[in-house]
Symmetry: D4
Subunit: 248 residues, 8 copies
Amino acid sequence: MDLRKIIDDIASGNISPEEAEKLIQNSRYEDLGYAKIDHDRKMRSGNAEVVFCQGKPDEYLTGIFTSILDTSGEVLGTRATERQYELVKKTIPDIVYNPVSRILKYEKQKEKIGNVVVCTGGTSDIPVAEEAAETAEFMGSYVERIYDVGVAGIHRLLSKKELFDKANVIVAIAGMEGALASVVCGLVRVPVIAVPTSVGYGASFGGLAALLGMLNSCSNGVSVVNIDNGYGAGYIANRINRMAERGM
Amino acid sequence: MDLRKIIDDIASGNISPEEAEKLIQNSRYEDLGYAKIDHDRKMRSGNAEVVFCQGKPDEYLTGIFTSILDTSGEVLGTRATERQYELVKKTIPDIVYNPVSRILKYEKQKEKIGNVVVCTGGTSDIPVAEEAAETAEFMGSYVERIYDVGVAGIHRLLSKKELFDKANVIVAIAGMEGALASVVCGLVRVPVIAVPTSVGYGASFGGLAALLGMLNSCSNGVSVVNIDNGYGAGYIANRINRMAERGM
Amino acid sequence: MDLRKIIDDIASGNISPEEAEKLIQNSRYEDLGYAKIDHDRKMRSGNAEVVFCQGKPDEYLTGIFTSILDTSGEVLGTRATERQYELVKKTIPDIVYNPVSRILKYEKQKEKIGNVVVCTGGTSDIPVAEEAAETAEFMGSYVERIYDVGVAGIHRLLSKKELFDKANVIVAIAGMEGALASVVCGLVRVPVIAVPTSVGYGASFGGLAALLGMLNSCSNGVSVVNIDNGYGAGYIANRINRMAERGM
Amino acid sequence: MDLRKIIDDIASGNISPEEAEKLIQNSRYEDLGYAKIDHDRKMRSGNAEVVFCQGKPDEYLTGIFTSILDTSGEVLGTRATERQYELVKKTIPDIVYNPVSRILKYEKQKEKIGNVVVCTGGTSDIPVAEEAAETAEFMGSYVERIYDVGVAGIHRLLSKKELFDKANVIVAIAGMEGALASVVCGLVRVPVIAVPTSVGYGASFGGLAALLGMLNSCSNGVSVVNIDNGYGAGYIANRINRMAERGM
Amino acid sequence: MDLRKIIDDIASGNISPEEAEKLIQNSRYEDLGYAKIDHDRKMRSGNAEVVFCQGKPDEYLTGIFTSILDTSGEVLGTRATERQYELVKKTIPDIVYNPVSRILKYEKQKEKIGNVVVCTGGTSDIPVAEEAAETAEFMGSYVERIYDVGVAGIHRLLSKKELFDKANVIVAIAGMEGALASVVCGLVRVPVIAVPTSVGYGASFGGLAALLGMLNSCSNGVSVVNIDNGYGAGYIANRINRMAERGM
Amino acid sequence: MDLRKIIDDIASGNISPEEAEKLIQNSRYEDLGYAKIDHDRKMRSGNAEVVFCQGKPDEYLTGIFTSILDTSGEVLGTRATERQYELVKKTIPDIVYNPVSRILKYEKQKEKIGNVVVCTGGTSDIPVAEEAAETAEFMGSYVERIYDVGVAGIHRLLSKKELFDKANVIVAIAGMEGALASVVCGLVRVPVIAVPTSVGYGASFGGLAALLGMLNSCSNGVSVVNIDNGYGAGYIANRINRMAERGM
Amino acid sequence: MDLRKIIDDIASGNISPEEAEKLIQNSRYEDLGYAKIDHDRKMRSGNAEVVFCQGKPDEYLTGIFTSILDTSGEVLGTRATERQYELVKKTIPDIVYNPVSRILKYEKQKEKIGNVVVCTGGTSDIPVAEEAAETAEFMGSYVERIYDVGVAGIHRLLSKKELFDKANVIVAIAGMEGALASVVCGLVRVPVIAVPTSVGYGASFGGLAALLGMLNSCSNGVSVVNIDNGYGAGYIANRINRMAERGM
Amino acid sequence: MDLRKIIDDIASGNISPEEAEKLIQNSRYEDLGYAKIDHDRKMRSGNAEVVFCQGKPDEYLTGIFTSILDTSGEVLGTRATERQYELVKKTIPDIVYNPVSRILKYEKQKEKIGNVVVCTGGTSDIPVAEEAAETAEFMGSYVERIYDVGVAGIHRLLSKKELFDKANVIVAIAGMEGALASVVCGLVRVPVIAVPTSVGYGASFGGLAALLGMLNSCSNGVSVVNIDNGYGAGYIANRINRMAERGM
């Protein structure tokens, strides 16, 4: 909040009390009425606000994208539909959409650093994996994808050991029993972010089985995000990856 | 029920209708009032009734053990306490008790055939594993124990591959996320009976996490029994093992 | 993994280290990028990989079917839709589809051995039952179907006792309270694989009631697979049936 | 509430308005401060209020027993402990306690009419069964007990068919998967009151499995009460039994 | 099963053993292959088998209706769709359909006896109530409907007290918190069959809140059937009503 | 119930007993057959009955709206669809519909008093918030809206502290983890009504996560209504607001 | 936070920037190391911090009581044990303990204003009710207790209508199905705070049934707090009661 | 596994095939029979195996501690009891025990680097926090503790902003609704590891409410471990902290 600096300015008369008050309260988000865009977030967290498109009313969507793009020079939306893409494209023609990851973004050219491994148990987990991978890439991380290495045929996973060893952080994505996270984590020394997916049926209860499995992992080093939350995992992985590369 | 044979006997006058009726209804269990010992079970299933000791009132316990021992020449009780052992020993002095498996039994000398592998994820799963192993042994199976080979250090499991390859059937016992069953089953061609255990804490919810994990196994060939049900798994493993050995 | 044999070949100079390494790592699955077809599975488990069609993207589906068919000479897909059938048929014209079991397969002529009984509580359980039955048949088992013998009219079940007595293994499929498994298992001496189905409403909670009922069966010998998992039950039943016939 | 009769009395001047008001409001329960004994219940429901002893503070217990005994000439308490028995006995020396059913009662001599069958799946269900049976007997029903006839050995149940056929109503009590209710109900034409018990372990989840099984019974005619609620079942069974005997 | 009579016939030579065997096994259900129509049910339970139409494949539906109609002279189907009605009407032109109760039936003229009250908490519970009411009527009971008397305005319920007092049995149907059953049951002396409905939203969890509420009713005399199971409640109510009228 | 006054009238002969009885029973609701409009509610609770439109059959809808409008001069419906609006408009042309709040109403001009704050965590919670706000306004409260102030950027919330300080009562609406209620409640001294919403995915389980979070709030003063129940919260907030303004 | 005033002081030179900063950050809680006593809470919320004694380590307990007592002149602890009472008494000899409500307090003489009704369904709910009542009294409210008026005998509740009508707010406390809240709320025009209790057994699941019932109440005006949370309900009731009395 | 190097050695004749095989399989864990100590773990993960003491049989405990201590020169046990401490002390006299964190350890002197913040919502969360903190310290991290900064008095948390800003990673520990993680994470740019605790009652369901809250956090950057899993959080925090310090 850098309270001290503003206090100094007031004391030195650089700014009037009225200005000071407005400054503290107004400079930190843009009030669109229906939404309060958190422009301060980039300063706090190192990344601009991201748009969770699912269920966002059409009336608000383009305004939110535009507000962030204007401030940050780029913008990332998750869980967008084809229809939402068409809508936003009218205002931001260069916006890009990937129907697999359902990511809608306008991205500045940037170097990708470090090494994030994103792996999945099966091919049906790929949409969640792509959401994670593209998020981390958008935020500046290099990403290695290792898909369909579920534990039912463990030689597939073991044959990729070398790739896992190069990672700063691993995102392990699986549905059904979610055992991938435990096995991968047992093989490496870096943090593993586990993403349970809703892939499965019957007693998978929409991803609950994988979620519980990952939370109860017998391997040290696994932490878990919400079911199908590829975005969240990609976000955390990028944070850790960059810290590892830059020594914070 | 061999209805036809009794019908023939009636028709031929070998037995009277009254005798026939009684024969059908009375010969199949012993009515102790508080319990109906199912002596027909050995004929139907190949194994005598087993005593589930947990919560059995003292008044009934010895009577049930004695009734089965008299008919079958041996008797197996599960989930017995030290106190129950002391009680039954007064009447059946040669009864044997194992405080780890909590099995209370009087067993005839018998040859152990075939090969049942009982493996666990950790050392805390051993009581359930011993219940499974001793049950299968009591019923005539040879049992190989492979303990503490959880997936957090998968090289321990892989180093025992040869032992797994010799099994007719495998009992895989694990708590926490229960991933052991999936990994083991992916390595072999025989049926895997999975036993979730209540080992764990927090979101393991008394074994629910392991149970759901095993039910959703991505490996073909896993079927599951109740949480901590070592007895049930040993019983089924013995059935399959004997069929494999004897060609049914 | 037959590590020893390859080691011997290296030591004797039969193969170069480079060849050896590739051999170990490459001969075991085919990497299609989006999928890693586990060709080693047939060697490990006795059966080729099976395609779980549900939710598989169109782009990948035909490739996966073709890869398996080329290697194994036959291929089995489960939970296929009519639309997926039309798609794969373009490339594999002789592929066959059953809208009840939703199985999509190309099958080699083969002898069916042994005896697997597949029974259901009601007529609504038949789709799951057919998935189980066709799976076991595809893998070489003879299957006897006994449908609509739920416990509400137990004479129907008892009248089929003779058929049950011929089985090497029984698949018991039921929704609602799932009591069929307990009653059937109490009548026979072979393993019973129980399949809870999502048939029911209200407090059946999508099959949860049947699942819990079967897991808590008071009959020895019942093991359980996931809700509606006919394929898994058919797979296990075939394994046990063949072991019983061939003495492993 | 017989509002009309009191209105007539007011109109005819038989009672004053003040009296009328008090009459309506005061004659229907006794206010002990900590409890309001519902003396009107016997008129409304045909049975006096019953004391649920579990967790009742010592200070209140004897007062409640005495209040009911004084009004009704008899009193029934459920879920009483040995210690509570000792306590109440000081004031009501002839009170009787059964440690199996945990029923504490003082009962008038009375004829038992009709026929209520109370059956259980196992011997561990007997405490709940005795609570049901003694409740129905206290309220004037004749009770037939059929214990340990679980579906794992269905011949035991079938051999008692004749006894079941004599019942006006059946109370079916079982833990584990609770299949007893469905099978019994399929054999008879009278209502079946199902009582799930907490007997079981693991995925029985304290009786939830049996509860769900009974609610989803495929047999017409099963209705269910709370887990271990022997009292409730005995109460309903008595109601139905008496209606059947007396034509209401 | 009337085993004795057939045994006598065999003994007396009235029938040959072969005939006897067939008689016992064949006379009790009709095997349509996909279904085993339980014609014995009417003898056992007093009512013919009822068709649960939901999810029944078109191929089987008409066959099942016809088989029952031919044997019983009438037929009742529940949870039928408009489309199923059109289908069955082709073969049974006089079949009648009610889109509110979703009951599809052909009914013989019959006297309605006794008194069953069917009441609901709200207007949205009416479809379930009509299923209950029409079922009881089909089976010969007179039914009184009291709708929209939920406890939020308890004077509506109290004003109908006289109607409740005439009932032999009450079916209380409510969603949300399901308190109707407790309040009604506290007012009467006859059994109350409670039906939780899926009416509600959010934490009603599809009727779970009402189900738990009814199972935990503080009023004696409430027993519960599955969520939305109007049919089951009507069936039981008819049984009890007829017993009350006829003295069994 | 004002029983005394009617009693006095009877005693004084002002009204006949027959009239008295009818008076007591009839004057309090209007029986439309399918519904019993609770006209007494306004007297009891201060507000006329409100129509929960969701799932209400077309046949009943207009009748219910008309009955309330005729008696109260205004009418409020919640969870109405566009289609229901079109239907009711045919009979009540001046009825007004808001597609965001889904409220359908005819409202008398009235002064809005006091101060109710309705705040949300995100923009997706706005439909629930509008239902709450419009309900409170309809009932006569002044409402201040503060949207999109979720705890992920807590400065947005803190910057509105002054607005919160003016409230008599606060409605805090949030999905996901529902932390908004705790944080807001910790800042103020007035009651906070928390509304969990179904906004979220995966382990939000349709609002369960937010519901549990709000029920377990570490801040004193939070009470909770059902998931997405904006109406209920608005109703309570209005009650409290008016009490605060008027001193009851 | 009164940011403006402090800013003015800085600008006018009344306080130095260093002082300002400390002032903002330090004046608001006392840091005991293991705890941060929130002395600002009384200013924010109108009530001092309350001590939740359950599980509080002995080492911290007395320190926390003393810190609050010194600042506020009185102190309230909830869920205290007899043992904790003995401990704190050593330092604060005049502290008072009630073993029913488990409240441990030192209270200043104060006038009790307004009218809070606390009612319960049964006698077993009294401990929770006393926690609510004593909390509201401690905070200055007059409390009327109406115990044991559960809906199974609804005349008891109706006979107290007059007392309910005098309340500014009602706390309705019940276990089992929790129907009390709905019925009471339907009778009055003031807010009802519902407290589910863990009284019950079996499918009450520790109060879950009552909790869901109350959340799904069909009566407008019910809001809910956590299971057994008498303190929270008393706290809110006091807030509302005082607002009603004082017009905020 | 460094397969290539061993292959080269074999090819060059440096080691015999027999030696090679043994080398691969034997060098990686110590088989104690009841346990397989994973000595390879330090190489793989950077940390030696840690002993989860809870429920470990006395017979095994000392052996496991000794085996690890001998190999690693230090050893860490979690969830140890006082009694287990006494037991192990007999063999390892210098072992140290902390009854708050329940950690039992023998630790080498080592430098603590970086900055891990461990914060809690309340004082009852301290035992879990100490488990996390001591684990991270044992593994070489510097730890800053910030306890009792729950969101009910958010100024306490905000006043510590500076300390949070210095962290490389934050462990946020809270029970009840678990909102601490969301609020903290919204203020910083480093990863937050959230630990739900079982602190709470009623609808906290043993920590489930906090777990779900944290999984559904609206703040980017939160990942979650099992309920009460302080150890797991400390382990991951140390991994991330060291990566940040050393640039991996």
